[in-house]
Structures are given as C-alpha cells and as structure tokens.
Symmetry: D2
C-alpha cells in the first residue's frame, strides 16, 4: 500500500481539478477520473466536458459538478476558474488530439497545472510552442503516457539504468490491436471516427494513437534517445484516411537498434503492447496485457520471472504498488500512478518547491519527442522509407 493517499501530505487537502472533454460517450475521460480517484489526491469540481453544450451540462450533472462550474468551453472555464478563490489547481485534457494544444495553452496561461492525454498535439511546432509555455509559466505539465506507471516498467527502467543489461543493443517494441480490421469508422464507432480523421488526429493514425505509446515506453525503459527512423505507414482498409499499420526501423543514440510495429488490423490482438530490451549482459521482456510480470535473463543464467510485489521487485516498483504480489494490478492502477506522481509535483509546486527526485512522469519534453517521432516517421514513409533524423 506504498502510495496510499494521505490528504495531509504537503499540508493539504485534495487537489481541485477540472476536465476538458470526457463527457458522455467518451472513453478516456472516465479512465482519467478513476485514475484520479484511486489514490484520493484529486477532486473533480469543474468541467468543459463536451463541445456540445447540452451534453456538457448533462455530463457535469452526472459527475456531481456544480452547475456554475459546468462550462460550455475550455476558454470560459480557464478564465472563470482562474478568477475563483476556490478555482481548480489542475486541469485534465482528454479531448481528441487537435484540441490538446489550445486547451493546454489556455490553462497554462491562466496559471493552472495541466494533465494532458497523448499525443500531446498534432504537430511538432505546436508541441514546441507548448514546451516553451510550460517553461515560461513554470506550471506542472503531465502527459499521460500511462504505461510508464506500471510498477514493472518502473522496475525495468531502473534495471537498465543501473546496468543489469550492460550496454543496450536492441530495443524491440510492438503494439498490435485488431479493432480497426474492418472500417469501424463507417459503422458508427465514435472512437474509430475521430482516430481515423486527420483533422482531429493529426498526420498519424495508428502511429499517433498507439505507435507513440510504444515509442514512449521504449525510450522510457531504455533511457535512450531516438536518433533516426525508417518508417513504412500503411493503410490496409480501403478508404481509410490514415495509416492503420506502421513498421519502423529505429536507430538510437549510442548504437542501439530496434524495430517498432504498431497495427490496428492484427486480428487476435487486443492491446498487445510489448517491449523487449537486450544488452550485452542481459535481456528484459514485458507485455502490457500481463503487466505484473517482468522476464529478466542475465546472460548465461536461468530466466527469472520477476513479479510486482515478489522477491525480485525493486523499491522503485514497490513505491508505486498498492496490493501484494499475486493480486494483479492493472491498467487503471498504472494510470493512477501517473496521477499520484502529478499530485506530488503539484503539492511541491504549492509550496514553491521542485518535486522530489523520485517523482517520475512523462513531461512536455516527452510530448515534443513523441511528436518528432511521429513527424519523422511520416516524413520517412512519404519519402519512400528512408532513414530520417528525428
């Protein structure tokens, strides 16, 4: 129960937050709200939950948000909340991708911390602009690359960092799904509609939706910086506007190489995110669907199955663990850890301190890196699958 919430920590009460997007019919907003509740560090008090005003109101009512804090637009919300004494300290942005940047900008400028879904924006330029604004305002900006919240991912990162794998040679990442095997965007799936629409998703389809997750995880665990990509984006489903499969060769600074595959048409895969990292001294393998396990092989020794909460779990994993080994934690707990880390950063900011050294979350810089990854991949693919600097 390592991170059991203490509302007294840093001298205070729960962090008041609002939400942009995430109204009725949305998916990821509810995930954010559960994640925010799990460790009891946040309280939802305001929202601009939908671009449709009626749905925004109804959604707010359902979520117990007071009428006068159910806003019709994020601009209005940023302004009004900044003016209130009991205004929100943080906002969660869970809209389609194209709204991330304008909304984040509005809240940062209003002095409100931002927790933003990924990918951070739809262009590199927007992302860089946002990074500059974060720098300027000094606000906390957390990008919810939630898979970095899994305890065994924290463990993997630490094992690489402390040298258990030696020098990294290979970084193999993949994220196959199958839900877009058929043209779901033409049979009424709201999720499929905006994710295959370049106006709302940006230039990348599967690469923006799930490829970035695979890239982010690879970078997070390996501790390496991506140097070049050689990418092939494919649209298998006729009439679809964006890629539904992407195959990438990667070169990382320092000499490691890798492959990255993301697909939405690989029948039989639900959310098959998988990472394998191999170095001169050892190898690691992790699968998102079974996140409580981490395979580790020191070269020349037996394979070990490390478990969250088990004998081989390191303190970095233990700190973000809630229940004992063998009682599985899942997607929502990993997501909650991102919120718990955000809370620590925000509480530190309350008293003008930097967060403690062990606070780890994906930042605006990770967001910029993600956009560069997408951008370089799209350019590589358009240029005929050639090596492209990130």
């Amino acid at each position: 129960m390592a991170i059991e919430a203490s509302k007294e920590e840093a001298g205070g009460t729960r962090i008041r937050y609002g939400m942009v997007g995430g109204g009725q019919g949305a998916f990821i907003g509810a995930v954010h709200r559960i994640a925010a509740r799990i460790d009891d560090q946040f309280e939802l008090v305001a929202g601009a939950l939908s671009s449709d005003p009626a749905r925004a109101k109804a959604s707010a009512k359902e979520l117990g948000i007071a009428d006068d804090r159910a806003y019709g637009s994020f601009e209005e919300m940023a302004k009004a909340e900044a003016a209130r004494e009991d205004g929100i300290e943080a906002v969660a942005i869970v809209t389609p991708n194209h709204m991330h940047a304008p909304a984040a900008k509005a809240f940062l400028e209003a002095g409100i911390h931002v927790i933003c879904d990924k990918p951070i924006t739809t262009t590199v330029a927007e992302a860089e602009e946002l990074a500059a604004l974060v720098e300027k305002t000094g606000k906390v900006f957390v990008l919810t690359h939630n898979y970095t919240g899994y305890p065994m991912i924290r463990q993997a990162r630490e094992m690489v960092a402390r040298g258990d794998l030696g020098t990294i040679r290979l970084v193999q990442a993949e994220y196959p799904q199958d839900w877009l095997t058929e043209p779901a965007e033409r049979s009424g799936s709201k999720q499929a509609e905006w994710r295959t629409d370049p106006k709302r998703s940006g230039a990348g389809g599967s690469i923006g939706d799930i490829g970035t997750h695979a890239y982010n995880l690879a970078a997070f665990v390996s501790g390496l910086e991506l140097d070049e990509v050689l990418a092939q984006l494919t649209t298998f489903v006729e009439g679809r506007q964006l890629d539904d499969d992407v195959q990438i060769l990667t070169k990382w600074k320092g000499g490691a190489k890798g492959m990255l595959w993301a697909s939405q048409v690989a029948v039989g895969n639900e959310n098959g995110l998988k990472l394998r990292v191999y170095g001169t001294k050892g190898g690691l393998e992790w699968t998102q669907a079974d996140p409580n396990y981490l395979w580790f092989t020191p070269f020349g020794q037996p394979k070990q199955l490390l478990t969250r909460g088990g004998a081989g779990a390191l303190p970095v994993a233990g700190r973000v663990t809630r229940v004992p080994g063998g009682h599985p934690e899942g997607y929502l707990e990993g997501f909650a850890t991102i919120y718990a880390e955000a809370a620590r950063a925000i509480r530190a900011a309350r008293v003008g301190r930097a967060p403690d050294a062990d606070v780890v979350y994906p930042t605006v810089a990770d967001g910029v890196a993600g956009m560069k990854f997408i951008d370089a991949s799209v350019r590589s693919s358009r240029a005929g699958n050639v090596w492209t600097k990130v």
Copy 2:
C-alpha cells in the same frame, strides 16, 4: 465503462460510510477504501480505525476524517453516527475476524448497512445470529468475497447457469500461497500474527483466510451447494497454532465432487487461487493472478481463451467492466465491483426498494455457508479425516 459512477443515480449523492479497523499498518482497510473510491459511489466520513486510540486518531487525520468523527471504538461510532442527521449510511468492517460479529451487530442495530470482510465471524453460531439480525433489520449486508467481482468469474457463473458445461461433475479449487513458509508471525509480521492466532482468527488458519475464498468461489461459479467435506488440516511450521495447509475432498449436492487445497507454505505461489469446473458438456478454467482470461472448452471442440472485453464476453461480464479488452483489470477493480453492487443495493434501500435482479454480491447467507464449511472441515480433520456434513 459500463459501471462508471453516476452520483445522481437513484436520486442522490455519494453514500456516506465509515470504517472499523483499517488504520495505519493494516492492509485490507486501504484496499476497501480504494475499492470504494473507484466507482465514486462512496465517501468516507467516519472511522474507528484502530483499537489503539492514538493510532485511531492519527489514521483518521491522514484520511481526511473530521476530528469529531474519529471514534475510539465501534460502539461509540455506531451510537454517534446513528444520532447524526448526516450520519453514515454504511460501515465497512475490516478488523481481524473476531471483531466482525460484534461490530456488525452494533451497526445493524443502529440501522446502518454493513460491508464486512471475510470470513464473516469466527463461529457458525455467531454467523447465524448475524444472519437473523440482518433478516430482522432488513439492512444490506455485503460480505467482501471480492473474487466474485471479477468479470470473468461473473461470466463463468453465467456460463454454468445457462448450461454451457452441462451437468457439473467436478469442481477443483485451490489457493496456494507461500508467505507463511517460515514462522513470519515470530519475526514481526502483524499480518502473520493475527492470522495465526486462534483468538483473533477463529479455529481455522489457512482454511479461514484463503480456503473460504476458494470454497466461496467454487460455490459461486458452480451454483452448487456443498454437502459434505473430508478435510485434513495440517500445520507444517513448528509452533504455529493454526493450520497452514488444508486438503479437502468435497461432495456437492447433485453429485458433483471435487478437491480443494489451500496452503500458505507452497513456495513459489503468491496468491494462486484457481478454479476449474468440468461438466458433461464442457470445462472452464480460471486463475486469479491472470483474471482477465477464462479458458472454456466445449467437449470435442477447440479450447477457447475468452477475454474480459473480448468477443466472447457476455453482458454479465461487460456490465462490471471498466476498460477495454487487453487493458487488464485487476484485484482492486474486482473489489470495487463488490462496492458498486453494494451501492446499488443501498440506493435501492434508500427508496424502499429491493435491489435490481442483476445486482450480485456475497450475502450474509454466503457468510453462514462459509463458516459451516470451515466448521465442518475442522471437525472432519479432528475426527481423523472423515466425511462430515456441512
């Protein structure tokens, strides 16, 4: 997101609840609190969190409970809360086993719904007394056999009920752990201390702590009633006062047979709860550590791996599912479902209705059955491992 909380449901706000036990250093209390928060149906406002008054106060403060609602004893709490206009509607009892009955009694008599950890009491008589009191008061009584909250367990139960397995022949249940392989109760583990102490745990050690879970799950999924047991309780660790391993043959009404094994000294097992049910037409297998999967084999056809959120998931599983297939849910979500079901029952009670037909949770009757299972097993073992009516 099927059970995303609506605080407006049944015309109201969150359910105010208190907690007995679960202060600093405890384990299961924090699990209950997270479970209560996940679907946002409950608000913790009162507590008698420890039998040690200082710890009780400090724990309450940490959890944001107002000073005047941090009680020194459950008796005081039941009385005071019953007298308040804004008093608690429900209480969660998360003490060692021997306190369950007196605490539950106090709150039921005060007109407060009860959510109680398992095993329900330390004797059959106490359990039956409690059952009579629940009957008399008409209050909601929920026993947190949390494994029944897993979506694929709901699915398994439904598949058996609708006949996918034909007539049940075999019910194989097991729950191996290894944390008591050595005498942890003598090296400062608070958890180990009370669980191996007959004064606080009752007559059963491993059988009460985890054997009841295995039994409850077997009964829940198979829909069968246990008839007779032939049990062998063993204490492998010298000096331990209660069993740390139990092996049971089971006979179920209607002719099914089975084996049940629970152990706390099976090295390499964390929480290895596993259930296998075989009938004339099919077989099911489920493992708690990987709860999003359910193996189903229709006789003479290929094995199927059903996944929570996947193509074969039935509505009963979908209703208690929060995130899509391939994004694992875990122990806390299963536990949260028990709380969500409790909330539905309590909201119905608010307006004088019975809960909807699809509300499912372990009841006081299940608690009585569990105590009878323990009692019969202990008697069988003491009598030299003979068949004993439950």
Copy 3:
C-alpha cells in the same frame, strides 16, 4: 547430443529385441518401437504382435520381421527365441495389462530381459511374484513409466535429492484427461474398450491407466515412499465398469502430504500430467505438455524458469538431452531415454556387470509399488474413503 547412440559401446552391435502386442490398431506398441529406434540401440527382429494370428502375421510383415520370427503366441516366441543362437536379448511387452505378468514370466524364465509397459500387472500378488522372478533370474526388467525419462524430471529429482527444496512438505500430482467424457467404449474405440474392462485392466480404471503415472512421477521426483492413501474412485459415466476419476489424499513417509487427482472426464485436458513439490526451502512445478520447462522458486527469491538445455540445466538433464535448448524435445524422446537406459543396463549385463551408477529406469520394485498404490486406493475407496496403508 549427449546420448547419441554408439553401437560400439560395450563392445557390441544393436540389441536384438522382440515385441509382444503392438500389432495393427494398437497405440503404445508403435511408441515403443520409435523410442527403441531414436538412439539406435535396438533392432526389432521378432514379434507376437497380436492374439489374432492373421493380424500378428500381417503386422510382423509390415514391420520387416522375418516370417519365421512372427509368432502366434508369446509362449511360442519365448521358447523359440531362447533356442536360437541369434535369438532376442530383450522383449518389449505392450499388451493390455492382464497379459503383462504371464508374458514377462515366460521371457524371464527363458533368460530374456524384459521391457514392460505399465501398470506392471493387474494385482499386487502377480507383481510380487514377478519381482521375485526378476530377483531370481537376474535379468533386467524395465517398466516404461516413460515420464521419468524427461530431462527436466531428471533435473527435478536431482534438485530434490541434493536439497534445493529443503525438507519436502507437499507433493501435489494430477493427471486430468477428457477422452472418456462420453462412453467412447460403446462407440467403437478399441483403446477405450480394454481400458474400461476390469478383465483386461484390473481393478483400476483411471487410477491404473494414468493415476499410476502420477503416483510414479511423484515418488520418482520426491524420492519419498508412500505411506497411506485415502482415495475416492468415481465412475461418472453411467454404465462404465471402472472408475473414470480418482481423488486421493496421500501421506508420505517422513511427513510430507499431498493430493493426487486423475480424471478422464475433465473436459479441456488432453494429457495434463502436472507435478508440484514444495519443501521448506523451495518449490518446483512441471507440466508434461510443456516438458522442456521446470519452474523453480527458492523461497524468498525470484521464480526461475529452468529450460532443458538452458543455463540452469544440470548434468543429469544434459546427459539425456539430444538437441539444444529452445528446440523442444517431447514424449517420444522421454520414452526413448527409458530405452537408452535399458540398453545400458542390458549391455552391462552382457558382460556380467551391474549397470553404471547413473543409469536410471523404473524397475520391477517400482511396479510393485505402483500396484500397491492402486490396490490400497481401491480398498480405501471401497471402505468409504478411509486412510489405508500402502
């Protein structure tokens, strides 16, 4: 390639052997023949392949056995082969169970080594008589409890023997199948017919066919001697003459306890033989369907997945391994190892020596033990499931 055959070993050529049973339509005979060929230590030159003379002849012809060595009965074969200068040195007996004892007796008395399928006989008395005859004749007698030939089973036995598990507390064995879920013996399955016929199988159905395998494996790996059983034999399929499911509690000399389950009606199980052994210091788990893996957990340390041919494989496993790790060996290779060990024993006997100390195979004593296990279990079950000395 550790046991690559050398026909020059012990100064000789391949061992000439004959077969009793195993003609057209049989199953296990062909398995024995492949096993005998894999390491090239044996040559099939004679046979009494069927009790049906025409089938015996035809089968012999198919297998390249010379006409004058295709016999109509095992009695004739034993006599004739003993009289030939180039007569067989060994015989493989692969008939239904009731023929094992008379055939083995005939060949032992004719001075011919015996390799016999399990269970050794249909009664304890027969088994003991056979044991006495083996003792008297000094011939090699190998019982094909083939699962003892798997490299990782050899490894498990060695790890227990050298103390990696500490003192053994628990021995959990199971062997579920599903092929007799329906009355296959009444729809033309020859295999099902004799295995459910007490005249040909003896007093045990599933217990004799697969329960003995589970028992033998448990004893082989644990190195323990079985003391008492408490058994429940069940016939689930109406009209079947023998048990199709057996559930047993076991007590082993020295204090270990265990459960043993064998079933032929557990839908979804093909040949689910599984062994788990737990001691004061560690635990082992092995599954026959995935025989190249052995799970080992030293208490308080991470779980290890030992692989045949991998870093943790001990010399006892390596000696009976043919291909590198990651290239799976299977059922036939394990069976072949029994034959390879038999060959070493027979070659030693050729020159009047005892086999080398590292030669390991199931003996007539194991056969007697197996019959006593069946007999005690049947008696326990008939007496109402009471503890019965083995």
Copy 4:
C-alpha cells in the same frame, strides 16, 4: 500414429542412405540420423563424415558403417556408391554451407537422391546451378527446412490456403537467439567458428543461419512470394565477421507486408522462432518452442488454442502426427517428417512415379528462393537499407 513406418510400403525395404559431414563433434548430423530413424524408412550404410580422415573413420565405426563404406571424401563416396549394386539411394549432406553445392552436385550426377541441410548454398548462382541439375537429373532433392515438418505449421499453411484468414495483410516473423551474445567463436565453439566465417557460411551470418528459416517458414505458411526486402544487417559483437542481427521489412506479392527479425544476441532467447500471420478475416500465431499449439482468432470471435491431436486439428496435421494430443512432439519429430516425406518421394521415384499430391517438403526451388532472400538482404543492407527486389 499416422505415419508409422511400413517398410513394405512401395514394395520395399528401408532406403539405404549415406551421410556427408556429421562426424564426431558436429551437431546437425546426429539430428538428421535420429530423424531418419524415427519412422524407420532409412538405413545408414555409408559416410564421408569428416574432412579429417581419422575422424571420418572413427565416426563411421561408431555409427556401425562398414569399413569399406567409410570414405575420405564425398567425391570418392559418390563414385564408389554409384558403382555398388547395394549402393546408397540417397545422401544426407550436413556439412558447413560452402560444401553443400559441390557435394550435392557430385551425388546428383551419380544418380543419387539428395537430402541437404540449409541454406542450400552460399550464393544464388550456385543454387540456380543446382536447381538446373536437379531438373536435368530428375532426382529427388529435399532441403531440410525442418520447421515445415511441424504438424501445426502444416495446419497453419492449410488454414491460410483454404481462406480461414481471408486476404493476408501482415506476415511477422522472428527468430531470436542469444548464443552469440559474446564472441563464442573466439573461445573454442566449433559451431560458432564456422557460422561466423564468411568462407564457410557465405555472405550472411545470422541471416543465413536462422533468418532463412524465418523467411522459409513465412513463405511456407502464407503461401506468398516475397517481392522486396529492406534490410539492415548488424554486427554487434566487435571483431565478428558476419552479421549477428538482421532487421528486415518485407513486401510480398499481392500486397502483404511484414517484418522479419533474426538475432543471435537477444539475451534470454534460445530458439525463439515465431510466426504471426494476419488477414482480413483472421489471425494465426505459432511459436517453435511450443510447437504443439497454434493460436487462431477468427475476427470478432474468441481466440482458439488449436492443439496437435486436438479437436481442431486438420487431416494435414494429423497425417504427420505420431502421438496423441497433450503428449508433445518436438523438434526431432518435425525433422523426421521431412525424412518421411523424402522417403515417400524416393519410393515413388523407385517405381518411376511422381510423389503423391500430399507429399510436402522444401525443394531446391525453396533453396533458390532462400538464397535470393539472403542475397537481396545483403545487397539492401550494403546499399544503405533500401528496397531491393528479391
């Protein structure tokens, strides 16, 4: 026991064969010999087992080859055996790669059928020359891409062919190993020495040794023809002369795309050959280390685990299966199936017939395709990772 050998089939006795290479200290020769024995279709009677005459003699003696048929060179052997009335009908060539072509040529010209290890030659030109010679002589030429002999691979191929997957979109193949993580070729490993020596292995290291297996399997199962590759060959271990890792993007005729990864430095992988094929209607996944399982997901339906010998196994799998489901077959049985198929082809050739339609084995054409795959990959890599026609 579907392919239990009948030496009477096609009117004859075992096929007499010889072996080139495979003497003491070699690995794959012993595998071929076991494979040849398993179904009892072959008899080893001659050999040129080593380029070292003393080792050749000693190895032959060990294997029971008559002195006068233990040759010092394959040229001598081809000539002498062709001249004998009882000369070999077939030869198995199991030398390092650079000897395949000259040896195969000698035997084909001597009228002797050839079973040859992979990769077929060291250059495309040699392979094409060999193909022309096979065409001209009409002899049987079998390339031992042994993984095509696994029953569930036969099944996968059939399922694709009959349309269970719809139109193929993605072919993902990988073959990670770790045995060359360190410079084993400089610490006395004979296997490592020749496999990293371009003079004996040709231009490809890992791509020739294991990448060809992955490619061959992908082509065999998908039924597709490879069109273009974009490859990156890497040598991670300093001083090594050939690649120890290769990452390839593939385009297949008809529009399918894929990735292929082979590595000898991926720590924790023994022989991790894995194939995944996805089409418009379904997906298949297979792993060599667990070859008795085949995962199949029809889009929108539950995942199925098909097992060799189980309910979903097709006749094409059953025909090459020896033991029942749940009794695992392994690497040697898959290899044996290649030999069993070769035997059928050779027996047909004896009587001037073409093999039956269901006989399936990798041919000289597959060998040419494999060499073109290596050649195109090497060229692509040298040209800076550009698309290259195969």
